[in-house]
């Protein structure tokens, strides 16, 4: 199956995670020949989205056999890959519903027939469950990149319509725009003024204007502006979305981005992709393909090849022994190398499948809630349903994860779920949780770069709500590989500006127009 595949490339990208996909697209865009491979049969790596069946399959970890490839000559050194699936550990999928309906069920009870796994599986394709759920700031790094590069036309988004916070043991809406504050009945007139003042300052002041305040803890700065505890918590937790330990500078930058993002596409600062976050990696892979990159899933990858005297990576080798060479770089996720065993930090991810939203509403919502308190790190809660095409009608996916990774693999799943259920009260209880899916993602950000020349290691997701880290890494690595001022993901030309001149091949009638149409 590898015959016919060219053997020489400028760049080989291993893994279809976010960083790899952006890089693959960027390299193809400047005319480099790219081979983009993944040993999985799906796009996205740890950033993928799955239907219900696919998720259940994924949850069953497969062990890969030991691969033995011999060097072909004395100049070559072989570095076998690790199983990239090792980056996700302790995968558990637990159902609170029966497998099938009992055969003795009478037909009159059809209306109140309890949900079973069978019924869910029949609707498997209506699910798009993210391994790494994230939100998109309307004025943030990734959205800007999508717009700038024109990759945005491969995806669709919906606004995160509902932003909640915890107040008085309940879930309430976050007032962040002037209209929200004006309409709120909970805030006194003076407090409205003080709150608006701080918000206006966050929007209009530059970081330099902060002077000595910038290193003050943000909570102290807010108290200095005469805000009461409730309002300090509102800004810290729901607008800046930082922990109580954050500095004013951090809090300011993030508050600014939040406020700048409101109004760009609607009354909320966040977008969520239709059909889940897995669509993003595919969108970049699509751009890579449009500019000539070759995408190859289920690639039988065995190892990297090195030149033993120069310690330079020369390419990859398949399990069949076929070798593929690179000129400029092999870009690869840390997960494929043995380095992940050095990282101890994990992000614990919880996905709950429910038949009730966390808060009642008249319409379809995409909800985001941030839980925090002075002595703990923030916990992100994202709820999606039928609206963005992530679950069948009437069912919801509830994602919960802590922002900062933990060093000890202690399982606090139940504690987090309890915390949420206390806030949802009677509206959402344990009986509404049909299924529970948890796993630990090893955090590979911050692992050292490779010591091998021309081998560039990328990283997986972190526990933040946004994609900043991935975009920054991709851009930095791109400029490292191509430091001669090449443009990073320049805008693709609009179709009406493309002039097709027929070259002198008058006998070649089978021109592949599909690539042009795809543009």
């Amino acid at each position: 199956m590898l015959e016919g595949l060219p053997r020489e490339y400028d760049v080989i990208v291993v893994g279809t995670g976010m960083v790899e996909s952006i890089l693959g697209a960027a390299c193809a865009r400047i005319g480099k020949s790219v081979l983009h491979i993944d040993i999985n049969d799906y796009y996205g790596s740890e950033w993928a989205s799955f239907s219900l069946d696919a998720l259940m399959e994924w949850a069953q970890k497969q062990e890969t056999a030991e691969i033995n490839i011999d060097p072909q000559d004395e100049h070559e050194k072989i570095v076998p890959i690790s199983n990239p699936k090792d980056v996700c550990r302790n995968v558990h999928l637990k159902w609170n519903i029966p497998e099938t309906t009992e055969e003795t069920e009478t037909t009159e009870e059809n209306a109140s027939k309890p949900m079973t796994l069978d019924v869910l599986k029949k609707q498997s394709r209506k699910f798009n469950i993210d391994l790494t759920p994230k939100l998109y700031y309307a004025s943030g790094g990734l959205i800007d990149l999508l717009v700038q590069s024109n990759v945005a036309k491969y995806c669709e988004f919906k606004l995160v319509s509902r932003l909640l916070l915890e107040r008085n043991g309940q879930l309430e809406n976050v007032p962040s725009s002037r209209a929200d504050i004006f309409n709120s009945n909970d805030i006194s007139l003076i407090d409205k003024r003080l709150l608006m003042k701080v918000i206006m300052n966050c929007s209009s002041m530059s970081i330099d204007d902060l002077n000595e305040d910038r290193n003050l803890p943000f909570i102290d700065y807010l108290k200095k502006q005469k805000l009461n505890d409730k309002l300090c918590h509102l800004i810290l937790n729901s607008i800046s979305m930082v922990d109580y330990t954050a500095t004013t500078k951090e809090g300011f930058i993030k508050a600014k981005r939040y406020l700048d993002s409101i109004g760009r596409y609607g009354n909320s600062p966040f977008l969520f992709p239709l059909y889940g976050n897995g669509e993003m990696t595919q969108a970049f892979c699509r751009l890579c393909a449009v500019f000539g990159g070759i995408q190859f899933l289920r690639f039988p990858l065995a190892a990297f090849t090195l030149n033993s005297s120069t310690n330079q990576c020369t390419g990859i080798v398949a399990t069949t022994g076929e070798r593929f060479h690179v000129k400029d770089a092999v870009i690869c996720n840390h997960a494929y190398t043995k380095s992940i065993s050095e990282s101890q930090n994990t992000i614990h991810r919880i996905v709950l499948l429910t038949n009730q939203s966390i808060k009642a509403s008249e319409k379809e919502e995409i909800t985001y809630l941030r839980l925090s308190s002075p002595d703990e790190t923030g916990i992100h809660v994202i709820e999606v349903g039928y609206g963005p095409g992530c679950a069948p009608d009437g069912l919801f996916l509830l994602y919960l994860f802590a922002e900062k990774s933990q060093t000890h693999a202690g399982d606090n799943t139940d504690k987090i779920i309890e915390r949420l259920l206390e806030l949802t009260g009677d509206h959402l209880t344990r009986t509404n949780i049909l299924g529970q899916f948890t796993f630990d993602q090893i955090e590979t950000i911050g692992l050292p770069p490779s010591s091998i020349d021309k081998l560039f290691l990328t990283h997986g997701p972190d526990g933040t709500i946004d994609h900043d880290a991935a975009v920054i890494t991709a851009r930095n690595l791109f400029h490292e590989i191509y430091p001669n001022g090449e443009e990073f993901l320049a805008r693709a030309p609009d179709p009406e500006d493309i002039i097709i001149e027929d070259s002198s091949n008058t006998d070649d009638t089978s021109t592949t127009n599909t690539e042009n149409e795809a543009l």
């Binding site: 002037r178 003024r193 097709i500 021109t511 042009n516």
Partner: protein, 313 residues
């Protein structure tokens, strides 16, 4: 790029040239059609004129002369066809409004059509028009053409003074305006029309005066506290205090004190300072401070209007 045909992308110079060519063509077409219509203005069949002007206006809705031609044509047509054509005219203006929602000519034409149809008054027609207004206001809530048109429609739909429907009619409009302000408190048009309807309501139901004005005061105080730099709310506040409540009804506790508190939190806010100066004058209190503020406003804070402040000292 590895494609079989040579793919070239237009440079920005080439793009510009292509655009220029397109524009020149469009201009040529427009001028020749325009000439054509004017030459045949008196002689051609009205229906033909309507057809040809429609084509031009859908792309160039702001051509006054062509609308005049249409009105002449419509007036020439016999009575039986008139009603249908006038209703069709409304859909023509709707298409034109899509290319320019702030076209004076289009809104005027709509109003003209309704006036022509007046003899055949149709409540549903007006209700549809209101619906259209709502849609355009959703697109741009500060489209003053649309606001003025809406006001005209409501005048037509207004129940007679004797009717018991009149009070709920005013209340309903005030609700709508309240919601609009709730979405964006800078909406000057919304505040402006609110003042008009409040006037009408209070004229009609004088017994509700103190209750209504009390709620209004809370609303506008909320607005100026939320955004003390937005002039729309301040203009309304001053109107409410001086034109509706009047000197007698202004209380130090209820009206002056909250503004003084705001002034403490937001010093040097020209709107707050001006409102306070005018209030203090009405109630003949804090004369020294008043004069001091007016000096500050004239000399430092709002020098462009220095004389305006000095005149009040």
């Amino acid at each position: 790029m590895s494609v079989h045909g040579q793919v070239k992308v237009r440079t920005s110079a080439e793009q510009k040239a292509a655009r220029e060519r397109e524009r020149a063509e469009k201009l040529h077409l427009y001028l020749s059609e325009y000439e054509n219509i004017l030459t045949n203005r008196q002689t051609a069949d009205p229906l033909v004129l309507l057809k040809s002007t429609e084509n031009v206006l859908s792309e160039h809705p702001d051509c006054f002369t062509l609308w005049n031609v249409r009105r002449e044509a419509l007036l020439k047509i016999e009575h039986e066809q008139e009603k249908d054509l006038l209703e069709k005219e409304l859909s023509v203006t709707q298409r034109c409004l899509q290319s320019n929602p702030k076209s004076y000519s289009c809104w005027y034409q709509r109003q003209w059509c309704l006036k022509q149809l007046r003899e055949k008054f149709n409540v549903n027609l007006y209700k549809n028009e209101l619906g259209l207004c709502k849609k355009y206001l959703e697109l741009d809530e500060r489209n003053f053409h649309c606001w003025a048109y809406r006001y005209y429609l409501l005048e037509q739909l207004c129940p007679p003074t004797s009717s018991s429907d009149l009070e709920p009619f005013f209340d309903q409009e005030l609700e709508f305006l309240h919601a609009t302000i709730g979405r964006n408190l800078s909406n000057y048009s919304a505040w402006h029309y609110r003042s008009k309807y409040l006037d009408k309501l209070l004229d009609h139901c004088p017994t509700r005066r103190s209750a209504v004005l009390s709620l209004e005061w809370e609303l506008v105080l909320n607005a100026v506290y939320t955004d003390c730099w937005d002039q729309a709310a301040w203009f309304y506040l001053r109107w409410l205090l001086f034109k509706q409540l009047g000197s007698e009804a202004i209380s130090e506790d209820k009206h002056i004190k909250p503004l003084e508190e705001l002034d403490e939190v937001e010093p040097r806010n020209r709107w707050c300072m001006l409102a306070l100066c005018q209030l203090w004058k009405e109630k003949k209190v804090r004369d020294e401070k008043r004069k001091c503020y007016l000096e500050q406003l004239a000399n430092e804070i709002d020098c462009d209007r220095a004389q305006f402040y000095r005149d009040q000292i």
